[in-house]
């Protein structure tokens, strides 16, 4: 698979205006490099916004990331562009099954079979459907994870603190405790709102597109923050201590964003 990725990356580099990005994004998805896959797909769709296969691959990336809302949006867009797109029909069926709606799953599968009889993907989906129970195979959590527990794993992974803040600077999850024990979450949340606003304005003015991450290296630690994907306008922050390897804050931030996106969906 790394060979596929390298080959497809070369193809894309040779022809940046071509469509190799669709296969590259899918190969990255299959390699579980979901952030890279999403970046390739989003950039490709920037050049080819009406490519049904492009929206289909972005939907699969979203589904693998656990973001079913975004996956549905992208598959619906795929079907608006190509009403007989088998990948999107099967994707919608998969979402229905994941939500426990076997009847809708069956309807989508029948539509896919009508669109492309004999397609091996349809047979495989049919086998999934046959063994799916009538009740939800992917039950929704009985309750959302408590907001203060959301980033426990991120903190165990080396973060000193992690916060999720909405676009108005209000804390949604996580906690920032001062060494004295005082809680400075609200103050930091308010600051982050201003910082993310400045980042967005700078990029807009300099025509650098939409922001992905901001890393702030300081004397005694590093702050890493970035917006969540999908429709949310919230921002996640991870702080690591001094001496942390330079790549770790980025990694922890990406994990924190994935956790936050999944958590927001359960609310």
């Amino acid at each position: 698979m790394p060979d596929d990725i390298a080959r497809l990356s070369d193809d894309l580099a040779r022809d940046p205006g071509g469509l190799a990005w669709v296969a590259l994004a899918d190969a990255l998805r299959r390699a579980r490099r979901l952030a890279d896959a999403e970046r390739v797909a989003v950039r490709g769709l920037g050049r080819h916004p009406y490519l049904a296969d492009g929206h289909d691959v972005l939907a699969r990336i979203a589904a693998d990331s656990g973001n079913h809302t975004r996956a549905r949006d992208e598959w619906e867009m795929t079907l608006r562009l190509d009403g007989r797109h088998v990948g999107a029909q099967l994707g919608m069926g998969w979402l229905a099954l994941a939500g426990g709606d076997r009847a809708s799953g069956l309807r989508w599968w029948e539509e896919a079979r009508a669109s492309a009889p004999g397609d091996p993907r349809i047979e495989a989906a049919g086998r999934q459907l046959a063994i799916a129970p009538a009740a939800s195979p992917v039950p929704a959590p009985s309750r959302a994870r408590a907001s203060h527990e959301l980033f426990d794993e991120i903190e165990r992974g080396g973060a000193r603190l992690a916060l999720l803040v909405d676009d108005e600077g209000l804390v949604l999850a996580g906690q920032a405790l001062a060494p004295s024990g005082g809680d400075r979450s609200d103050a930091l949340g308010a600051e982050l709102s201003g910082l993310s606003g400045d980042a967005g304005r700078a990029l807009s003015q300099l025509q650098l597109g939409s922001w992905e991450r901001l890393l702030v290296e300081c004397e005694s630690g590093t702050l890493a923050l970035g917006p969540l994907s999908g429709g949310s306008r919230a921002v996640a922050l991870v702080a690591t201590g001094a001496g942390t390897p330079a790549g770790l804050p980025r990694l922890l931030l990406d994990r924190a964003r994935r956790s936050a996106e999944q958590w927001l969906e359960t609310l």
Binding site: L195, A202, L208, E212, L215, V216, C218
Partner: protein, 116 residues
């Protein structure tokens, strides 16, 4: 007589693959002091926005209790912006998205060390 550049490494940094602009500015007034950039880069805007972002990052770092800011790196789907400061001066680099962030960071910090 040729004036000695304030940042001797500025030209080296500007020649790095993917770098579109390098500039030195003052944190106090955000006016460009020394620059090297592609023709389509608005250097005044770059200096102003990078300085504003750096100052704001400093405020956030203070609240977070992580000390003074050494460098910032902003990644976007259309490019990168990195900046580091020393003695009230801010060295800013704008580069393509594909530019290696590790190399860019090292080159920026190295150039800053050579600040005259």
């Amino acid at each position: 007589m040729t004036a000695r550049p304030v940042v001797p490494e500025l030209a080296v940094l500007a020649r790095m693959r993917g770098v579109r602009a390098v500039l030195l500015t003052a944190l106090a007034d955000a006016l460009p002091i020394e620059t090297s950039a592609h023709v389509d880069v608005d250097l005044d805007a770059l200096a102003a926005f990078a300085t504003a972002l750096y100052r704001r990052a400093h405020q956030s770092a203070t609240v977070a209790g992580v000390g003074a800011v050494r460098a910032i790196s902003l990644e976007a789907d259309g490019g990168r912006l990195a900046a580091a400061s020393r003695d009230g001066l801010l060295l800013v680099v704008m580069a393509e998205r594909e530019t290696n962030p590790g190399l860019l960071r090292l080159a920026l910090l190295h150039a800053l060390e050579g600040l005259a």
